[in-house]
């Protein structure tokens, strides 16, 4: 309807788990882009997917960075959002344990595993168990925040941990806790989500934001060392850890397409089996409703 309407300002978030958003903010790309139109750009820090989605939900931001599965969960609970862009495909979660104690997912039977319920590592763990023919009933999942899980696996309170970067990278570097199972395709993506209302009112501006993101993504690919420095400085982690984290990020597929859809649907099914999604939910339909690739497709053509 109001295609020529113009927002007064656009509120974006930035998050340590989305390096592209950090580059976007650091390089001032969005500000430059919207300055000519006299539209203000504001940045809000999201400390996790859940906060990013809460901000979207309460209209505190217009665009938010969240893990794909998290966005799916929120969508099912009625949060009016759409996934319009994939800022990276990170391998940010894997299963870790003390060196030599656990060598495969099958060894987890009857063990205590730390994970944060509802987050990507948790979903990763469930999918890994499923693949190995186990279910959540065969193990004891201890709900711990990511950083607390890192502590608990080191002190021996739990036998394994579904880790998350940068905790994972740091633990790997500093102690004898090692990854024993990894699978990039069980990680959901770092997505960019927009409020539905915003997308309806200002479709042109969704495109413009995605253009900015696209610019930032290209810059990220071209300047890996600078990106690591930005990440290290913003998140106050060491350069070493930042580099390790970036190595595990794949910035090559920005458009939400069928491949991504398949991974998200896989996560959704596992969530459903474990009661985090309503048993009557049709995961495929829900994912269709969540994904909107038309903006990204348009600007990339």
């Amino acid at each position: 309807t109001g295609t020529d309407a113009k927002p007064k300002k656009i509120i974006l978030d930035y998050a340590y788990y989305s390096p592209v958003s950090l580059v976007l903010k650091d390089q001032g790309i969005a500000e430059k882009k919207f300055k000519a139109e006299d539209i203000g750009v504001e940045f809000v820090l999201s400390q996790g997917s859940n906060k990013a989605l809460e901000f979207l939900s309460s209209e505190s931001t217009d665009f938010g960075s969240a893990a794909g599965a998290a966005a799916l969960l929120a969508k099912e609970k009625g949060t009016p959002i759409q996934t319009v862009y994939i800022s990276s495909k990170p391998e940010w979660t894997a299963l870790m344990a003390k060196k030599g104690t656990i060598n495969s997912v099958a060894d987890l039977k009857g063990k205590r595993i730390a994970a944060t319920v509802g987050t990507d590592p948790y979903i990763f763990l469930l999918r890994a168990l499923k693949e190995a023919g186990l279910s959540s009933k065969d193990v004891e999942i201890v709900n711990l925040q990511h950083s607390d899980g890192a502590l608990a696996v080191q002190s021996g309170d739990v036998d394994a941990w579904a880790g998350l970067d940068p905790h994972m990278a740091k633990v790997e570097l500093e102690s004898d806790i090692q990854i024993f199972y990894r699978n990039p395709n069980f990680n959901s993506f770092s997505t960019l989500d927009v409020r539905e209302e915003f997308a309806e009112k200002y479709p042109d501006y969704v495109e413009k934001v995605l253009e900015a993101y696209e610019e930032a993504r290209q810059w990220t690919i071209a300047h890996p060392d600078e990106t690591a420095e930005i990440l290290a400085k913003e998140a106050s982690i060491s350069l070493e850890v930042a580099k390790k984290e970036l190595e595990r990020n794949d910035f090559s597929e920005p458009i939400p397409s069928d491949e991504q859809k398949a991974i998200i649907i896989g996560s959704g099914e596992v969530l459903k089996e474990n009661g985090l999604l309503n048993s009557s939910t049709d995961v495929e339909k829900l994912t269709d409703k969540l994904f909107n690739s038309k903006f990204a497709e348009k600007i990339l053509k």
Partner: protein, 278 residues
């Protein structure tokens, strides 16, 4: 004759007062529920009329429905029971420790100078900040949760205990000294009863903090409890679960506080105070 009349008059008075005793309690409950009920009605109405979107703030009936479902499944009682047990245990430990240490600090200058400064510093450390330290020190077992709650309870009780003691009327302490009371007797027979009003306030404050620390405690590897429910609700974007657990916190908190208030009123009958005058 005149005397007679008078006696009759005062008797009439008496029955009148007796008759009013029962309804008084009801009136209190009634008045107290006006505000919460009004809020509930506005909330429900604006939810139904679409002023508040349900993904932001589900309407009360949906939340109650959800809680009812959990009650039917039986999981609700597990959550409530677990949290109640933890708060209760932590409350007891925290209060007990605070009374002991508070008495020492309030009564003996040397203790005050030695340990009060560090306690005051610890007091402002947020509950979430304690979590990693507790995992390091005590692991993620039940005891570490209970102790974390006890830490929360400790500070207000301690503060009020010390303040209560320092405010005890010098005149009464002198009476104990005249009878050759030992320090311990002076504390137990004069200082503790005299600082009881302040202590009870501290205990009520402490219980409130105990409820607050539950969330931090149940971040530490819980699989049951209201705090766990709240965090899972936040992680899975379920506003009904979040609000449901908040409401449970409020109800349980109110109920336990009411118990303490009841004890407070009973044990402060002797006070020649503004409250007892009415």
């Amino acid at each position: 004759m005149e005397h007679r009349e008078h006696a009759v008059l005062s008797k009439a008075n008496k029955t009148k007062e007796l008759r009013f005793t029962k309804p008084k309690i009801n009136r209190k409950v009634l008045l107290g529920s006006i505000l919460p009920l009004t809020l509930l009605i506005i909330w429900e109405a604006s939810g139904r009329m679409g002023i508040i979107e349900s993904h932001l703030l589900p309407i009360p009936s949906v939340i109650v429905e959800g809680l009812y479902q959990m009650a039917l499944e039986g999981t609700l009682w597990g959550h409530i029971g677990t949290t109640l047990m933890r708060v209760f245990a932590g409350f007891l430990i925290g209060t007990f420790t605070a009374v002991i240490i508070g008495s020492l600090v309030g009564y003996m200058k040397i203790f005050e100078e030695l340990i009060d400064p560090i306690i005051q510093a610890f007091r402002s450390i947020p509950s979430l900040a304690w979590v990693p330290l507790f995992i390091l020190w005590m692991g993620i077992g039940e005891s570490s949760k209970v102790i974390l709650i006890a830490v929360g309870v400790f500070f207000p009780v301690y503060l009020n205990m010390v303040a209560g003691i320092r405010g005890v009327d010098r005149k009464l302490i002198e009476v104990g000294k005249i009878y050759g009371y030992t320090s311990f007797e002076i504390v137990s027979k004069i200082i503790l009863p005299a600082s009881l009003p302040s202590l009870l306030t501290g205990i009520r404050s402490g219980l409130g903090l105990g409820w607050m620390f539950v969330v931090a405690a149940e971040i530490m590897g819980a699989s049951k409890g209201l705090g766990y429910l709240l965090i899972v609700g936040q992680n899975t974007y379920s506003p009904d679960v979040i609000i449901g657990s908040i409401i449970l916190f409020a109800i349980l908190g109110k109920f336990t506080d009411w118990l303490l208030k009841f004890i407070e009123e009973r044990s402060l009958r002797w006070q020649d105070s503004y409250a007892n005058q009415r």
